[in-house]
């Protein structure tokens, strides 16, 4: 009875083998998705416009191999539809399977020549194919059959005759053993135990596991039963045995836990060596194996068999929790995760060594984690370290218990470490646990020995994280695309002008103005902003006075130590105050120091550090006056234009007045217009002067913070704007000379009187020379069913806008044209920048590597180079 299903690993490279006319394409189409099939005929067609052009074979196969490689790299099952009857044709495919750690599978379609001839004869394109072709294919195929296993095929399905081929009705895709993505934990991941049974019991106790002795009635009984705390599961990272005092007990406990499902276990190199011994292979009993073997001698004879069976069943690594967590004894690079090959297994067991031998006679390990960029958290052991350290979303939790260190567990997803000290030194290490600290990586920069591994690593970001087209996943928007040309611009700005990227936790988004007002003589009016939010279903907004200064982000610590600890920056002071492009606001270091010290004192006076349980803070603020930063711009552009106008226009007026006495037609109109322009130029000069005052020192600066962005371990995007306003108002009280609280009002949008009052407030503010106001939804992050809403809209005053649109903007003929403006692109940009800004800061407080934060910050800067009307 021919089989009607074929079982395959879910990730495999399936190589169909059969002569022309054997029915491979039909078979493939019947059982696989069309996109899974890569066919040599189709590739010939693509490169030669003719599926039968044998002269195109070389190019066609290059293309085929390229396509196969791309699919395997991305972890997709792939079927190769080609004759594949010769070993030399299969060889490169098997090599690809190895390269991408995918299992190669052979399916042989072995049909009689007569059938193949018949089928070819029915196809017009193959009608003229000589009978010798099929014969030769069959001959090659017969020769191949013997060798398939040797060539490296792990699964071979030989379908003899048409009947067997047609009988196959379905393909069953078996999950890879390492694929446990559906198990979401929570987990308690335990590092190398090495026979330290007592410490293991203590650790399990701390973790809430109950360990009880069990009567051993049967040889299969392990004598111990462990009950996990509700819902939790232990994961052992291997190296259960060797060197320590009680390897058999450790094995019993772990075997028991794995058997009843309260634990998972991956093998370590010591476990596998023991397995080889138990399998009767000759191994040298060194590195602690001798002790294990001696301990095993006092165990019942059947125990050895149980251990052998247990170890034999261990899978090199596990991919857990939807792909977010990977556990392997020695770690695993991203391209090997969830794959199956000898190389994957070897890496998981031994890691990678450079081939060099260090001063202690041990192999120098290649530190794969330093280059790790994968999405999954990798928890591993194998290499004892004095303290577990996060590095690029990996962590080594082998803290060398058997060498007198500690036994460590990582609680996932909490990311908490639980640790138990070793009762004694059971074995002297060949090299001290802290040897790596003594031989720091060559590119570690001077004076930074006090930084964590991650912080040292973060001193150099990789260009790959910022150049080219980037696609950034954010929690507020599904994905933000950064175009290459924008990244190009941002790279220059970031490199030439920005602060050290470690300071740059956040860049503020751009802000769109309200839609253009219909009222005559006005470009912007609050009515549109309020209506915008109301129409989108927002019930309340917060209207904040807009300060006319420079937008700054302030990152400041309680002291330099806080900056070293949290940001990994040494010798750069207690904080920085930077602009929207990441540039230091201050150019005078003394003024900078004085400013930051005074702000720090204000935070201290306000009891901020204790209240928020933090030693640093990130604020979004406006720094006044405008002239503090923009003095040169004001002189070169704003004042210059007024000077030019005031020099030229009176002379124009004089000449026109003189001409008017000659009663020339049209001169009166020109004169009137000139006088209007002269008045406008005067108003314009008044407008820019309002935002300038001389800055002779600290006492002339004012900081108006309006968002409390983040403190240790926390962002405040979940707090409403009223909370931010009140919190910062309280802070401002601590130093009213430096800090300015921002006047604001909460406006319920369905209360017409309140809406009217808000408009009235704006009218008064702007009439008194204020820049205008910012309208924000009450919640920091506001969205409706269609998605994210604008985080803020600005609404600028009539007088203020002349320093944006020029002195003459209100003159007839100008304002009408200026009203033709489109805020759409700006709003789109504001949303994307907002999503990126929030994402970057969230990543930072979650302790992610700098590159993940920098990617977002860089993205905001890149988006800022997009071409939108700069007046908006």
């Amino acid at each position: 009875m021919p089989q009607d299903t074929i079982k395959l690993p879910e990730l495999s490279l399936i190589i169909l083998i059969g002569s022309t006319g054997a029915g491979k394409s039909t078979f493939a189409r019947r059982l696989f998705k069309p996109t899974e099939i890569v066919s040599s005929d189709a590739c010939r067609g693509l490169v030669a416009d003719d599926e039968n052009d044998q002269s195109a074979s070389q190019d066609a196969f290059e293309l085929l191999h390229y396509l196969v490689a791309k699919r395997l790299k991305r972890g997709l099952l792939t079927v190769v539809d080609a004759t594949n009857v010769q070993a030399e044709g299969r060889k490169p495919l098997i090599a690809l399977a190895r390269q991408y750690h995918v299992l190669p599978v052979a399916i042989v379609l072995d049909v009689p020549d007569s059938v193949a001839h018949q089928r070819n004869a029915l196809r017009p394109d193959r009608k003229h194919m000589g009978p010798h072709v099929v014969a030769r294919h069959r001959q090659d195929l017969r020769k191949s059959l013997r060798n398939l296993k040797q060539e490296g095929f792990r699964h071979i399905h030989h379908l003899r005759g048409v009947e067997e081929v047609d009988a196959v009705q379905s393909i069953v895709r078996d999950r890879l053993y390492n694929n446990r993505q559906d198990e979401t934990g929570p987990f308690d991941i335990i590092g190398d135990v090495h026979g330290c049974y007592d410490e293991l019991l203590t650790l399990l106790g701390h973790l809430g596991y109950q360990v009880e002795a069990e009567p051993m009635a049967d040889v299969r009984d392990l004598g111990v039963r462990v009950t996990a705390p509700a819902g939790r599961r232990a994961v052992f990272l291997g190296d259960l045995v060797d060197r320590g005092p009680a390897s058999p007990q450790v094995l019993r406990l772990v075997m028991s836990m794995v058997r009843d499902g309260s634990a998972l276990c991956v093998p370590g190199n010591h476990d596998i060596k023991l397995l080889r011994h138990l399998n009767g292979k000759k191994v040298t009993a060194n590195h602690g194996l001798a002790e294990t073997l001696a301990q095993l001698e006092s165990e019942p004879a059947a125990f050895g068999g149980q251990v052998r069976q247990f170890l034999d069943g261990l899978v090199s690594h596990y991919v857990l929790d939807g792909g977010k967590l990977v556990v392997a004894h020695a770690g695993l690079t991203e391209d090997m995760q969830g794959r199956g090959s000898g190389a994957v297994r070897a890496f998981a067991l031994f890691g990678e060594s450079t081939g060099e031998i260090d001063d202690f006679g041990l192999p120098v390990r290649y530190e794969w984690a330093r280059e790790y960029r994968g999405r999954a958290l990798v928890v591993y052991g194998h290499t004892p370290v004095p303290d577990p350290e996060w590095l690029n979303n990996t962590i080594d939790i082998d803290t060398g218990c058997v060498f007198g260190g500690r036994l460590t567990a990582l609680r996932y997803p909490e990311r908490e470490l639980v640790t138990v000290p070793a009762a004694q030194v059971y074995c002297e290490p060949a090299r001290p646990l802290n040897y790596r600290a003594a031989a720091l990586q060559p590119e570690v920069l001077a004076g930074e020995g006090d930084l964590s591994g991650q912080q040292q690593h973060d001193d150099l970001l990789d260009i790959r994280d910022v150049t080219g087209k980037q696609f950034i996943e954010t929690r507020l928007m599904r994905g933000v695309t950064i175009r290459e040309e924008n990244a190009v611009a941002a790279l220059e700005v970031m490199s030439r002008f920005a602060l050290h990227p470690k300071w740059l936790l956040y860049l503020p988004p751009t802000m769109s103005p309200t839609e253009t007002s219909d009222l005559p003589d006005l470009l912007e009016h609050p009515a549109e902003a309020l209506a915008y939010y109301k129409q989108l279903g927002v019930e309340r907004v917060v209207c904040e006075e807009k300060h006319m200064g420079s937008r700054v982000v302030v990152v400041i610590g309680k002291d330099e130590e806080a900056i070293r600890r949290r940001l990994g920056l040494v010798g750069e002071g207690i904080g920085k105050c930077y602009t929207r492009t990441g540039r230091n606001f201050f150019t005078d270091p003394e003024l900078e120091m004085a400013f930051l010290a005074r702000l720090r004192d204000a935070l201290t006076t306000a009891g901020f550090w204790d209240k928020f349980n933090t030693d640093w803070v990130c604020l979004d603020a406006e720094l006044l006056p405008w002239s503090a930063k923009a003095q040169e711009l004001i002189k070169n552009q704003y004042a210059a234009v007024a000077a030019a106008a005031n020099a030229a226009l009176p002379q124009v007026e004089a000449v026109l007045t003189q001409a008017a006495t000659r009663e020339l037609d049209g001169v009166e109109a020109l004169l009137a217009r000139t006088m209007a322009r002269r008045a406008a130029a005067t108003d314009y000069a008044e407008a820019y002067r309002r935002y300038c005052w001389p800055v002779n020192g600290l006492d002339d600066l004012r900081l108006a913070p309006f968002h409390l962005l983040a403190t240790e371990g926390q962002t405040y995007f979940d707090r409403d704007h009223a909370w931010h306003m009140e919190t910062l108002r309280t802070l401002a009280l601590a130093d009213p000379g430096l800090l300015r609280a921002t006047p604001y009002r909460v406006v319920p949008l369905n209360d017409p009187a309140e809406v009217e009052a808000a408009i009235q407030w704006w009218t008064e503010l702007t009439a008194a020379g204020g820049e205008g106001m910012v309208v924000k939804p009450y919640d920091f992050v506001a969205s409706n069913r269609k998605g994210l809403l604008q985080p803020a809209l600005k609404c600028r005053g009539r007088e203020y806008l002349c320093i944006i649109y020029g002195p003459d903007y209100l003159l007839p003929g100008n304002i009408e044209r200026l009203k033709q403006r489109n805020v759409k692109a700006k709003r789109n940009l504001a949303l994307r920048e907002f999503a990126l800004g929030v994402e970057g800061l969230e990543r930072f407080v979650a302790g992610e590597p700098l590159r993940r934060v920098h990617q977002c910050v860089f993205g905001v800067l890149a988006l800022e180079s997009e071409a939108v009307d700069p007046r908006l």
Binding site: L460, E492, M494, V652, L664, D808, L818
Partner: protein, 480 residues
């Protein structure tokens, strides 16, 4: 913007014939960027004044332009001085309104154009880099020059005077067409900005309009350079053609930096120094030659030019046959495009093209593309980075890329006292973040060498002066 031309020629109203504009009417015409109005505030036989009033449309100027986001060009902004300042807009208006007069034709009074007239010109206002410039441009042509200054902001006396002047020119006897031509060429030169793209025919225009007077003008280099601003490539050929008859005059000019507008101008003391009359290799060219020579001597196969700019060193390196591959990197995309242009990358024959690649990159980011090179040059690069970012550069170049030889040059601050135009504490270039003395440079280089296993050699670049050393200094690192 207002231009008035007054004559006391008798009869003064002949001005109307000359200008081909009727004194009894106000005439308005469309010009690029707005309107021009021509009228006569006075027209008597004794004294006649013609006024050209430009009414530029500030909204149209901005809206009409393609592209956005400031490259510093004034027209990107609504807040700009164009409506008030005599600029290339005025030149365009002059040729449209008074084209016949400028060509020296007058239908009704054929002999009048050749007549030298007493003339008085007033321009409100011109923008000039300093009060001496209007004089330097107009006095050699025989004008009496009067200037009226304008404070930047009368409420801020500490800000001083603005760059705007009311310019008054008087000449006892000159043909009107000459005055118009002078204004046509020299007003945009003072203003140093052009509202239109400068193409090759701009050079032709200058040759035509300046043929009679520019070759003898003492400021002809300045005038040519600024008139043809944005177009360095035309400067030398144009000058050459202008001076063809003068024997052996072969001026060397450093091209002015492209973004040399007053606001963003990185004015360099070195280029100022290089403006000195003796024809000699500029300091920068000397530096590059020295670096190139030293690199040749090492016989490297693969060479990096980090911060390659517009590709001057790349050109020198390309000439060296033993070098198999050169990678030029710069953080500025604009500089790279210009390098590609100057090296004719697109038209390079394939074999030569395969020897050179240009990439955008930053010395502050780890970059795999920089690995596997025998030598790297960083010519006048480090001083463009904030000092506290040098650690990153060090990590990228010496820690990660690790070429066998690294050449780093930087200005020698000890030498700065010899630059007359440089005040104490000022840097040679506005983008320099620091300039190190020889001792500071040596200390930094020694630290780098020690931390990364290189041997260090220090050299001076350019002519040494006792006590202060040479203008530039170089550190050569050889992997130990």
């Amino acid at each position: 913007m207002l231009l008035t031309i007054t004559t006391t020629y008798s009869p003064a109203t002949d001005l109307g014939y000359l200008l081909h504009k009727n004194p009894a009417r106000l005439q308005s015409l469309e010009i690029a960027g707005g309107q021009a109005h021509i009228f006569y505030p006075e027209a008597t036989a004794e004294r006649c004044t013609a006024a050209l009033l430009l009414d530029l449309d500030p909204v149209g100027l901005v809206r009409g332009r393609a592209g956005s986001s400031g490259d510093g060009f004034a027209l990107e902004q609504y807040v700009n001085d164009r409506p008030y300042v005599a600029s290339s807009f005025l030149s365009a208006a002059l040729s449209k309104a008074f084209g016949t007069a400028m060509n020296g034709t007058c239908k009704d009074r054929p002999n009048l154009p050749e007549q030298a007239l007493p003339l008085e010109v007033k321009v409100a206002v011109v923008s000039a880099p300093g009060p001496d410039w209007p004089r330097r441009l107009f006095e050699p042509l025989g004008y009496d020059v009067q200037l009226e200054t304008t404070p930047l902001d009368p409420t801020r006396p500490e800000w001083g005077d603005s760059r705007y002047y009311t310019l008054q020119l008087r000449h006892a006897g000159l043909r009107l067409q000459d005055v118009l031509t002078h204004l046509y060429v020299l007003l945009p030169v003072l203003d140093n900005d052009k509202h239109y793209y400068v193409g090759e025919n701009e050079a032709e225009k200058l040759l035509r309009k300046g043929a009679d007077w520019l070759p003898q003008h003492p400021e002809r280099d300045f005038i040519t350079r600024r008139y043809l601003r944005y177009l360095a490539a035309y400067v030398n050929p144009t000058l050459k053609r202008l001076l063809e008859d003068e024997e052996g005059a072969e001026p060397t000019l450093e091209a002015e930096p492209v973004d040399a507008s007053a606001i963003t101008a990185p004015v360099t003391a070195e280029t100022v120094a290089a403006d000195s009359p003796e024809p000699k290799l500029s300091l920068h060219d000397q530096r590059l030659q020295q670096v190139a020579d030293e690199i040749y001597q090492l016989g490297p196969k693969r060479v990096l030019d980090l911060g390659c700019g517009e590709g001057k060193l790349l050109r020198l390196l390309l000439r060296q046959p033993k070098i198999e591959f050169i990678l030029g990197m710069d953080v500025s995309h604009q500089a790279l495009s210009r390098a590609a242009q100057r090296l004719h990358l697109d038209e390079m024959p394939p074999r030569q093209r395969a020897r050179l690649d240009l990439i955008q990159g930053s010395l502050l980011y780890r970059d795999e593309r920089l690995a596997g090179f025998d030598a790297a040059a960083l010519v006048e690069v480090i001083e463009h980075l904030d000092e506290n970012r040098l650690a990153a550069l060090e990590g990228v170049v010496f820690g990660q890329a690790r070429p066998a030889h690294v050449f780093v040059t930087s200005p020698n601050a000890d030498y700065n006292q010899l630059f007359e135009k440089l005040n104490a504490g000022e840097f040679r270039h506005t983008d320099h973040r620091f300039e190190w003395t020889r001792a500071e440079f040596a200390a930094w280089a020694a630290g780098v060498a020690e931390r990364h296993g290189y041997q260090l050699r220090l050299e001076s670049m350019g002519e040494e002066v006792a006590g202060v050393g040479a203008p530039s200094q170089m550190a050569v690192f050889d992997v130990a």
